[in-house]
Amino acid sequence: MSEIYSVGVDAGSTYTKAAVIDGEGRLVATSILMTGVRINDAAKKAFNDVLQKSGISEKQVTILVGTGYGRYNITFGNMQVTEISCHAKGAHYLFPKTRTVLDMGGQDTKAIRINERGEVVDFCMNDKCAAGTGRFIEGAAKVLGLSLKEVGELSLKGKKPVKISSTCAVFAETETMEQLAWGNSIEDVLYGVHTSMAVRSIGLLRRVGIEPELTFTGGVSQNVGMIKCLEEQLNMKVNTSSLTMYCGAIGAALFGLEKVRASQLVAVRG
């Protein structure tokens, strides 16, 4: 029998991510690019890119699973799985002792509690508005003309977090401007922005219950300032790595692999 390759594509609001898992459950490659307005095009590009990185052709792909908010816009996939389940599975794959997942993306933030098998027990998310999502940090970065990476790094140099009063992500821009106008340093304002985000996400986490280990996923998990503020506010270690932003895609590929294995089982039995 030919080798199995399961591909997961996570169409997020800001970035589209893809991951390839082989028949042994090994992560072969990952890929990321901006989602833009044409979700299906971005998904197709991420898919092609990850195949190239994996050194396989489209014909070798056994199954393709879509996830993320744009999953139903992916027209070439075999199945779709919610991003909550995918993030849970992906986090469990990267850090098997994970019991709580905090997924912070460009437009949404989710708190997920999982069991020892990586299955979702409970979850909670911002569904009404973008407060407490990566968008808030983006707003602050935009005002300062800095990249997301830069704002995270600069916030580490802050001495005292400035109190941020806005919650609305749109107001992050004016609030940052206002705080700077009051004479606060960029570092302290950014420290404040990240702290307020951490406090907000802990509110969300408490609703599902915080059980160690906590794994931080999504695009914002790459932000060093956010990791520091979360650990500070939670008083516990937070798992994260350069792969945590691919958790959704990895989880999707793992679901694909399970599906393939299940159908093989049926085939053998049959």
Binding site: C129, A130, C168
Partner: protein, 266 residues
Amino acid sequence: MITVGIDVGTRNTKIALMEDGGKILLTKAAKTSFDFNNTAKQLFDNALSELGLKPTDIEYIVATGFGRYRIEFRDINVTDITANSRGAKFFYPGTRSVLDIGAGNSRAAKIDEKGKVVKFRSTEKCAAGGGGFLEKIAFYTGFDVADIGAVALSSKNPVPISTVCSVFAESEVINLVTQEVPMEDILMGAHLSVVGRVLITLKQVGVEPELTITGGLVLNPAIPKVLEEKLNLRPNVSPNLFYAGAVGAAVLGYKRLMKKRGLQAG
């Protein structure tokens, strides 16, 4: 006696110079910059040179708007609600309800026959109901923000925007654009969404005629039109009302000064 009102808004800083609280000598606006005080100072200096006045000719400077505390050369500051209500009454003396729609948020106020604020509500916690959302939508639909109102008015089948949050609504609009929904229908949907939000605030304070609209969105023709349809009431609107906050602040400055000097304001 010349008084000055400076209204530092999220998007624009507006200035008004008035004589005896009754005659507008000049109104001007500039984009609010990082340095609030500097933007205001430049506007102020330019206004003086345009009118051939010296700084000593100015008797009182009143700051308002969200950045009012940063205006170092102010004599006093007043809240946006007070200033806008006073400005609305200056232009339309019969005003009893004021709806101020700015870039950041919107405010509704009920005022008495003297122009005093009786009750007010604002959308300050959330950007839904602010004009900033329409700026973003203008960007995504490829129109100039000055034109979107007129384009929206040509819509036959407005598309409802289902989400309240401005950030989510933005994504929704982007999806509609990629689905090639006619631009005017998307734009009208966006205007309806803002007005819908603003109406909640307005109804909380109660609408009493005359209703006067102030703030940056008075320059958008679709806003008063939609409001009129929803309320069955024609609101007062004119381009001057863009300066209502600054004018109101200058009027209040005059009144305050007269009181200080033990005189009766006219």
